[in-house]
Amino acid sequence: MIFEEIRKRAVAQWEALKNEAHILVGAATCGRAAGALDVIDAFKNELARQSIDVRIIQVGCIGLCYAEPLVIISKPESLRIVYHNITPDLVPRLVEGYIIGDDPCLELASGTLETDEREVPYIPELPRFEHELRLILRHCGYIDPENIHDYIANGGYNALEKALKMPPEKIIEEVKKSGLRGRGGAGFQTGLKWDLCHKANSKTKYVVCNADEGDPGAFMDRVILESDPHEVIEGIIIAGYAVGAQRGYIYVRAEYPLAIERVRKALRQGEEIGVLGENILGSGFNFHIEIAEGAGAFVSGEATALVAAVEGRRSEPRVRPPRLAEAGLWGRPTLLNNVKTFAYVPFIMRRGTDGFASIGTENSKGTAVFTLAGKIQFPGLTEVPMGTTLRRVVYDIAGGIRDGKQFKAVQIGGPSGGCIPENLLDLPIDFDSLYEAGSMMGSGGMIFMDEDDCAVDTARFFLDFTTKESCGKCTMCRIGTLQLLSILDDITTGKAKLEDLDLLQQLAEDIKMGSLCGLGRSAPNPVLTTMRYYGDEYKAHILEKRCPALVCKDLIAYYILPEKCDRACEHCVLVCPTEAIKGGKGEIKVINQEKCSKCGTCLEVCPPQYSAVVKISPVSKLPSSPTDKEASAQGGR
């Protein structure tokens, strides 16, 4: 069947769907974690009970993680309504109300996808969406990722059809002109990379898609693969045609089973309709894509290390040159790009280079995708034009810090990135500005911290991660990061001296210089940025043995305020795992500091009307009380 007919059929199916009632449920991994599958079962049962036939479609993620499980109900001649935080017990209400009846159940709704005069917000006008610009996330959560026709009906594979009629040089020229830079983190010019691979002299070439999203706190590649896999696949096929490759690999981490399953299905459907495989769309171009399952190693995100993993070896980076474009997978010229980089390609081909290059800043074109997590009101996924300020992301999109707390920092780019403080929030986000601030775009994971988070502990956390993930090839990375971690351990436990800060600084810079790959070169970033912006906190830990955020265990003590403790309440006594709390019914409770393991359970269970348990730092500030001494003398209860 020729593509024109496939497209017509896809559009007809899509239009037909609009004319029947149907339910979309966000069922990416994040939605499932929040209970989406139970909601789907509840819908099935309720619809069966009412004997009505309505299609339930599992879609990907719309990016509003805080609202999961998310349900969109669509009926002909009616508004499409988005419902948030739906649980199985709310399902009968939705079926009865909006599917059978005409009550839109507005008390459960986030908003509508069409305009309406009723008192329910129009979703595209919500503050968050006004600042967003969705180029590669535009289908996520709206189309069925397991149905290639949904993608085609929305303009999918048109770019491939167009590209196959162009000479490869012309495509590369377009990508160059668009100004697209690699979304894996470093921001290398994509067109240049393609050109190098295209010019490499070899009959056999490969294209590899890097979906080894290893940053603990970034999940956009997973969401894109789970929500709109064909967008990435189309980009890979176009790249394969442009550089002259015959085979592509998508390297996905095994931790993402749903992404693997959906990509596998998408590849099969692509072969069935002829956008993949032999003689693609009648052009004579042959291209196959396979999934290569990763087995979890942060360093595999590095291009040469990833190639080693696909070949079945330990993921150790190697010296470049030769570049992958000269000698990559099995020694052949290889083009390697990130999931998002490929996802932009169909857009660029369809809209022309100007459509892309007109968005963003002078040196960073297009949009940036970020995952938002940590202490904010609205965690999720967002896509904004390059050049948007951090302040806009924090306050207008993420809804600011939750529980009325103070913003402290945003960590961008995970273990390779850095902490950015409040006074730099007006920084326009692009590759270069973040680099100057000591951070980097990296994975695009943003973690927001509030006043309760300790800068030193956060740096220690990332170092702990990179130390474990270092492949061990370079001495500076293998041993240097371990030494950094050991100094940070000393600081967080109150054993450090002031001169250790100089050592920390020097060693951090040496590791940057003395490491081969991005992992080692960027590993000190969290330490360097926190030292730069939160130097006072480091000093408080060292000089006063005080953790200002009350996080570092060795520098804090738990204390029960006698004036707040309720004599009749025994919550803390009953849960304390080390029996460190003395005091029966009718007594004021006292913590035996020698027995206390600082697990925080007493603070957690102390009823909010008393809030008698507090953390104190430095430990020397702990009020001494006779009862306390008595308690330790008796060895507790």
Binding site: A33, G217, A295, A309, R313, P379, C599
Partner: protein
């Protein structure tokens, strides 16, 4: 290291090896599949893989010990994973982990002597908005605390009580 439970079904292993013998997909997918079959990578199986792929056993061992997914010991009946991603760390993931170590009387990476529980820390399961998160078997437990983590173990403990 204990070598108990090394009696593996050769039949399952042979099927996997036969399937991948000549497909050129490399070592990692084979090891992943073996682990799926046995729950971990038995030494005997790794030796067989080396023979079939005509590579040195040390290269198989090298890969098996390099990647986080691979386990060299069998899992407990109830496998507990604690997320230690950035968001979970900030939200108190370490306290959750410590509570589980204390309650289960095993350290991270260990399996209890009776084989009922094993404990593992994982980098990020991508549910940052539900932090801190732990997973028992395949069920995700959102917004944990040391106290809630202890409580969540109760049904699994009852289920794994010896029948006497």
């Amino acid at each position: 290291m204990k070598e108990k439970g090394e009696e593996i079904s050769t039949e399952g292993l042979q099927t996997i090896l036969e399937k991948h013998k000549n497909d050129g997909k490399g070592l990692i997918p084979i090891l992943l599949e073996i682990q799926k079959e046995f729950g971990y990578l038995p030494k005997e199986a790794m030796k067989n893989v080396a023979e079939v792929l005509k590579i040195k056993p040390v290269d198989v061992w090298g890969v098996a010990t390099f990647f986080n997914q691979f386990r060299l010991t069998p899992l407990g009946k109830n496998h507990v994973k604690v997320c230690m991603g950035t968001a979970c760390h900030l939200a108190g993931g370490r306290l959750v982990l410590e509570a589980l170590e204390r309650e289960l009387k095993i350290k991270v990476g260990e399996t209890s002597d009776d084989g009922h529980f094993s404990l593992e820390r994982v980098a990020c399961i991508g549910c940052c908005m539900l932090a801190p998160v732990m997973v028992i078997k395949d069920k995700i437990y959102p917004k944990m605390s040391s106290f809630k983590a202890e409580e969540s173990l109760i049904p699994y403990r009852q289920e794994s009580k010896p029948e006497d």
